[in-house]
Each structure stands twice: as C-alpha cells, then as structure tokens.
Symmetry: C2
Subunit: 158 residues, 2 copies
Amino acid sequence: MVNDQMVNEFMDNEQLKLENQLCFRLYTAARLVTGAYQPYFAQMGITYPQYLVLLVLWGQDKQPVCEIANRLLLDTNTVTPLLQRMEKAGLITRTRGKEDTRTRIVALTDQGKAMYEQAQRIPDCLKRDIALKTGEEEELIQMIPTLDKLIEGLKRKQ
Amino acid sequence: MVNDQMVNEFMDNEQLKLENQLCFRLYTAARLVTGAYQPYFAQMGITYPQYLVLLVLWGQDKQPVCEIANRLLLDTNTVTPLLQRMEKAGLITRTRGKEDTRTRIVALTDQGKAMYEQAQRIPDCLKRDIALKTGEEEELIQMIPTLDKLIEGLKRKQ
DNA sequence: GCTATTTATATCGTTCACGATGCAAAAGTA
DNA sequence: TACTTTTGCATCGTGAACGATATAAATAGC
C-alpha cells in the first residue's frame, strides 16, 4: 500500500526534484524569453514561430516547405499549418514547384518583405529588455556553443 | 516598391538571422530535450508537463492549484486543464479546500504515487542518452546558473 | 453589515508541437 | 514499361501555452 508516509519519507531521490532539472530550466527559459518578444510580435500581428519563418525567408526568399522545416528543426505537420496561417495573413504565398510539383515554394509577399523594417529594432530592444531584467548579457552569449552542441547532438534525420 | 532585389541586398542585419538568435536555440534545445524524454513518458502514459506536475507533488503532496502553477511558472489557464487530464487519467485528485472553498487541493492517487518508482531511472537514463549524443555534461551543468538568472529576471507576478 | 476589490479557479479561442496516417508525384528497380 | 519505394506535403487528433474573460468565494474598506 502506497500511503502518505511514503510520499515524504522515501521520495528523496535528489534527481527527481524540480530544482535539479536542467530540462525544466530550458523549458521555462524558452517560454519566458519568447514571452519577452510578445509585445513586439503583438504589434506586428505575428507569433514567435511565424517570426522564425520570416527570419528564414528574409535570409533567402522562395524556399520549399522542407527547407524551412529543416532550418527550424520542425516537421511539416507543424510547418504546413503555420504557413497556411501566414498565407491567410498575407505574409507569404505558397505556390507549387515547377520541376517537382509536389513541393510548395514559399515566398514573401510585399507585406512580408515590408515587415523586415519593423523587425529591425527587435533584437536590440530585446537585448535591452533582457539586460535590464537579468543584468547578464555575457553569460547568455557563453551558453550558445553549449546549446549548439546539445541541439546538434539531439536533432536527427537531419 | 519592395522587390526581390531588396530581399538579398538590403536584408543584411546580422541580428535578424536565425543563426544569431539565442532565443531560437533555447526554443529548439527545450523541444529536443523534452523530446528525449518521450520514450520514457510514452511508456508511463504521461507527457512532459504532466511529469513536471508529478515532480512537484512527489516533493510535497496535497497542494492547491496556485502553488503548482507558481512552482512551474505557469498560469492556471494552462495548469487547470492539465490537472483535469491528469485527474481523468487517475494520477491525481482535485478536491475543494476546506477553509477556502475556492481552492482546489491537488493530491496524488496511489497510482500517481506508484509512478514515482517508474520515474526513478529517468534522470540517469536521460543523462546517459544525452551524454552519448552530445558528449558534454559538464558544459550543460554550467548553464544552470545563467538560466536561473535569466528565469529569475524574466518571471514576474511571482 | 454592505459594497468594492481581490483572489482562486475555470472556460474559451487560437496557435503551436507532434505522433499517426494519407496521398500523389518522383525516383528507383526489375 | 510496370512496379515498388521514397519523398514532399497535408490532414487529423491530442495536449499544451496563453490572452481574454467569467464566476464565486474571500477579503478589505467604509
């Protein structure tokens, strides 16, 4: 019989405590940081994943869905509906590929391109927002190589 | 007129590139790491956020919803449905508080307590899984204080 | 004691993530 | 050429996150 005593006396595995979970920190940090972007995105009428798609397309316009999915390390079952919403919002077009008619070529509309101007200030604003609240910027940058190794190791099916 | 030339020639803000986004790394790392837990959770019939709730309750049984929400830095509009699903799955009970009838006291069922045994191996398994794929463990641990500062700075309404 | 405000939880709608599955076009193979 | 497999994308269902809003109970102010 599992009783109250058990919960409290025997549940003392240090590793099974929230405070000791790296994963919970990553999960929370990711949520809070994307949350910090919210004011800017709300103003632009986009969401965080939509911003990521725009970043990809601003770097290189007219890419098939699979390229975008690869870059974001997401699957098409996440990306397709995302792109459909962005198309409906007038940010992109999704036209069939010419050589390979299975592919969908995603291209920025004028509105999607114009949004680049509004986005210009976001990185600096965010740096300031976060620096003001956490004090640290150096340390954050130092995490990058570690996060990259982690991502590189855990992503698969390239 | 915004044209193709513009995208490619003038969109050269280094900060507006996916590769330079700390946020994208956090978002991706969090997704991939929780993904690494999936095999274990699938076996147990739970999800990652449900695991977090269990961690909280294993540490201290019988807590009101707001306590759990505070610990996880989530709002009740996320936690309530989560707890409802866990109740339906037989992991917890949600009873009304006695002094304050507004509160819902969340308590582990025997099944929820018993699941602690199955969870015992998860942290070690995951450490091994991730170490095998990324090689690094030291570095991951070194991120913890930085993530904590970030989280502490960005969370509000305690 | 009575209204005003706050608190604890819940509901609703929208947008992700993601496993499972479907489908048609392309590529490979006999 | 006919057949099989792979690829690229889409659809469906479920479970989060989260903004907005609702509701009832508790608390505060008068």
